[in-house]
C-alpha cells in the first residue's frame, strides 16, 4: 500500500504565507477568501511584500487588512480609487491596488472609479461583482440582474423601478488610459488559475506604470442569494455568466 507522507518535500499546496492566521469573518463558501488567497500568493511569488499598498473598501471586504499581511489603507465607502490615485502618484514604484465590491465601486464610488480610469492611474482595481450588497444584508446592487430577488427588490429587480444592471468592465474598457480589463471567476480550480494569471498581469502593469488594470471577478454571495455555497456557484454559472461573460475585454499590456 503506497502512502503519501505529510512532509514538506511532498507538499504541493498550502495556505499562502501572507494570509494571516485570523479566521475570516466571511460566510462559508464566500468568494472573497479565494480572491484574497490569490492576491496573497501573487504578492509573495512576485516578491512584492516590500512594495505593495492596498486599499480596502466599505462592504464585506472592509476587513481585508486582517487577512492579507501587507500595508493597507481602509477607505470611506466608494473612495478607494481616489486614495489609490494619491498613493501611486506619490510612490510611483509601488504596487497599488484597490479591492472593492459592486456597491462600493459601481454605486457610491462611481465618480472615483470612472475618473481614476479616465486619468489612467497606474493602479489595479480588483472588483468583486456578486450582484448584491452583502454586508448590509442582501440589498440590490447596481449589478443585480433583472428579475433577481434581493432584500430591496423582493419581487425581483424591475427595470421600470430600478433600472438596468450596468457593466463596469465594458465601461472601463472604453477608457484610453485603461490597459487591461478582464472578467474572471474563482468557482473552479481552472478558474482560480486563470484569475491568478489575470491578477498577476494586472500587478505587473501597475509596477510597470502601464495604465489602469481592471480585474472583475464574478463572484457569489450565497447568504445574500439564499442558496448553499455549491448551489450559488451553479446559479452564478447559469445566470451571472451570460450577463457578465468571462474573458479579457481589453489587453493592451
Amino acid at each position: 500500500m503506497m502512502k503519501v507522507e505529510k512532509i514538506s518535500e511532498n507538499m504541493v499546496y498550502q495556505k499562502p504565507r501572507l494570509i494571516t492566521n485570523n479566521t475570516m469573518h466571511y460566510c462559508p463558501g464566500c468568494s472573497h477568501g479565494t480572491v484574497h488567497k490569490i492576491v496573497a500568493e501573487l504578492i509573495d511569488e512576485m516578491g512584492l511584500e516590500d512594495n505593495a499598498v492596498a486599499v480596502s473598501p466599505v462592504g464585506c471586504s472592509v476587513l481585508a487588512y486582517n487577512y492579507i499581511d501587507i500595508d493597507w489603507v481602509q477607505a470611506a465607502h466608494g473612495r478607494a480609487p481616489a486614495i489609490a490615485t494619491a498613493l501611486k502618484r506619490l510612490m510611483p514604484d509601488r504596487l497599488v491596488f484597490t479591492y472593492q465590491g459592486d456597491g462600493d465601486l459601481a454605486a457610491i464610488g462611481t465618480a472615483e472609479t470612472i475618473h481614476s480610469l479616465v486619468r489612467g492611474e497606474n493602479i489595479v482595481i480588483i472588483f468583486i461583482n456578486n450582484a448584491i450588497y452583502g454586508m448590509t444584508g442582501g440589498q440590490m446592487a447596481p449589478t443585480t440582474l433583472i428579475g433577481q430577488k434581493t432584500a430591496t427588490t423582493p419581487y425581483g429587480r424591475d427595470t421600470a423601478l430600478n433600472g438596468f444592471p450596468y457593466k463596469m468592465g465594458e465601461i472601463a474598457a472604453m477608457m484610453p488610459g485603461v490597459t487591461y480589463v478582464t472578467r474572471q471567476s474563482v468557482d473552479k480550480p481552472a478558474a482560480v488559475r486563470a484569475a491568478k494569471k489575470a491578477i498577476k498581469k494586472a500587478f505587473e502593469n501597475s509596477i510597470g506604470c502601464k495604465g489602469t488594470s481592471f480585474v472583475e471577478i464574478v463572484a457569489t454571495c450565497n447568504s445574500g442569494w439564499k442558496l448553499s455555497p455549491v448551489a450559488s456557484n451553479d446559479w452564478m454559472r447559469e445566470n451571472m455568466f451570460p450577463e457578465y461573460p468571462l474573458g479579457d475585454l481589453k489587453n493592451n499590456g
Binding site: 511584500e49 516590500d50 512594495n51 505593495a52 499598498v53 486599499v55 472592509v62 476587513l63 487588512y65 499581511d69 501587507i70 500595508d71 493597507w72 489603507v73 481602509q74 477607505a75 470611506a76 473612495r79 481616489a82 486614495i83 489609490a84 490615485t85 494619491a86 498613493l87 502618484r89 506619490l90 510612490m91 509601488r94 504596487l95 497599488v96 465618480a111 472615483e112 475618473h115 479616465v118
Partner: protein, 361 residues
C-alpha cells in the same frame, strides 16, 4: 537674503507649499480659491521639488486623495471654499479618526447652500466644531494677512505631523484675493524616503512591510465598541494636549481694556481700526485675535473678561465664535458678551463695528 514678493493670499499658499517641501496637492476648482491650484500648475513643482499636483474630479475625491497621501506619511495639502468643504467633511472625519496629518485650506465664502462667492466667516462651526460625524477636532489656524497665509502653511504641516491630526487654515475670500507684500519661507527640501520612514515608520502605509517587519494600517474602523471608546479616549487626550500647548492669540491693548472685541481673520483687521479710533476718543478698547480657533484662547478671554464690561465678538457670520467666547467668559462673570457682524458675504465696515460697540457702552 530675504525673498520678498507681492502676492495674492491664494498664490502664496501655493508658493509656500512648494517651499516648505510639500509632497502633494490635490484639489478641485472653486471660487474664491482657484488661484491656489492655478499657481501650482503654473509653477510645475514636479519638475523641481518632485511635488505632485493633481486636479481631482470633486472635493470628495480631493480629500480622499489627501487621505491616501497622508496615510503614506506624505505632506499633502488641499484647498477649497465653503461648499467644497461641506463635501470634504466626510473625509475630514476619516482623517481625524485614522489620525492622519494633512493640511486643508478653506478660503471661505457666504452660505448656506451655493451662497455667494464673497468672503464670509460662517464656516467656524463647520471646521472648529466638526462638520463630519463623530467626536473629533481639527487644528484650525486663522490668518489675517498674506504673510500669515504663507507662514501657516509650514506651521500647519508641522502641527499636523506633531499630533497626527488634520490642520486647517480657515481664511476667506478677502485674504485669498488680497495682494500684500510677503516674506517667503526659507526653502526646505521634501523629506527623503529614509527621513519619512524615520519620522512616520510606525504608522505610514508606505508599502515597506518586509523591511519594517510589520504591516501598517490606516484605519478608522473599530467594530468593538469598547475598542472604539478607547480610541476616542486617546483622541480626546490628544485634543487636551493640543489645547494645553498650541494656543496662538494676538492681544491688542487688552491689558486695561473695559471694552474688548474678539475677532479673527479679516474681521480682526477691521477691529484693529476700531481700537485705534476709539482709543483716540479715550475709550479703553482692546482686541483679542484668536490665531488658533482650535485650540481656542479660552483662558486669555476669561482673564480679560475679569476687567472688562463688554466683550463683543465680531464675525462675518450670524454669530458662531461668540458661543465659544460665552463659554470662555462663563455665566458667573459680570462681563456681558455680545455679537456683531454682517454676513452672507457682506463685510462690516469699521464704522459699523464702532457704532455697535458704542451702543454697548
Amino acid at each position: 537674503m530675504e525673498d520678498i514678493k507681492l502676492l495674492k493670499g491664494n498664490e502664496v499658499l501655493a508658493i509656500a507649499a512648494i517651499r516648505c517641501g510639500a509632497d502633494g496637492y490635490f484639489g478641485y476648482p472653486i471660487t474664491p480659491q482657484s488661484e491656489v491650484m492655478e499657481t501650482l500648475m503654473d509653477e510645475r513643482p514636479w519638475l523641481t521639488t518632485g511635488m505632485v499636483v493633481l486636479q481631482a474630479e470633486s472635493e470628495t475625491s480631493s480629500i480622499n486623495m489627501i487621505y491616501g497621501g497622508a496615510a503614506a506619511g506624505k505632506r499633502v495639502m488641499t484647498s477649497s471654499s465653503s461648499p467644497g468643504l461641506s463635501l470634504m467633511c466626510e473625509g475630514l472625519s476619516y482623517l481625524a479618526g485614522a489620525e492622519l496629518p494633512c493640511l486643508v485650506v478653506n478660503v471661505a465664502r457666504g452660505g448656506p447652500g451655493l451662497g455667494s462667492i464673497q468672503a464670509s466667516q460662517a464656516d467656524y462651526f463647520q471646521l472648529v466644531k466638526g462638520g463630519g460625524h463623530g467626536d473629533y477636532k481639527l487644528i484650525v489656524l486663522a490668518p489675517n494677512s498674506v504673510q500669515e497665509m504663507n507662514d501657516f502653511v509650514g506651521l500647519g504641516f508641522d502641527l499636523a505631523f506633531k499630533y497626527r491630526i488634520p490642520a486647517v487654515i480657515l481664511t476667506d475670500g478677502i485674504i485669498g484675493q488680497m495682494m500684500e507684500k510677503v516674506t517667503l519661507s526659507p526653502e526646505r527640501p521634501r523629506r527623503t524616503e529614509e527621513e519619512l520612514a524615520k519620522e512616520c515608520g510606525d504608522w505610514a502605509t508606505t508599502g515597506r512591510k518586509a523591511s519594517r517587519g510589520k504591516a501598517n494600517l490606516a484605519n478608522s474602523l473599530f467594530l468593538d465598541s469598547v475598542d472604539l471608546e478607547q480610541h476616542n479616549l486617546h483622541l480626546q487626550k490628544k485634543y487636551r494636549e493640543i489645547e494645553k500647548n498650541e494656543v496662538l492669540c494676538e492681544q491688542i491693548q487688552v491689558e486695561d481694556a473695559e471694552y474688548i472685541m474678539v475677532a479673527y481673520g479679516t474681521s480682526s483687521r477691521i477691529c484693529m481700526k476700531v481700537v485705534e479710533d476709539m482709543r483716540k476718543e479715550g475709550h479703553k478698547v482692546g482686541l483679542i485675535r484668536p490665531i488658533t480657533l482650535f485650540p481656542f484662547p479660552t483662558e486669555i478671554i476669561a482673564k480679560a473678561a475679569e476687567h472688562s464690561k463688554v466683550i463683543l465678538s465680531v464675525e462675518m457670520s450670524a454669530g458662531q465664535m461668540v458661543e465659544d467666547v460665552r463659554l470662555a467668559v462663563g455665566c458667573a462673570c459680570k462681563c456681558r458678551v455680545e455679537h456683531f457682524g454682517r454676513f452672507g458675504g457682506v463685510v462690516h465696515s469699521p464704522a459699523e463695528v464702532y457704532e455697535a460697540l458704542k451702543a454697548l457702552m
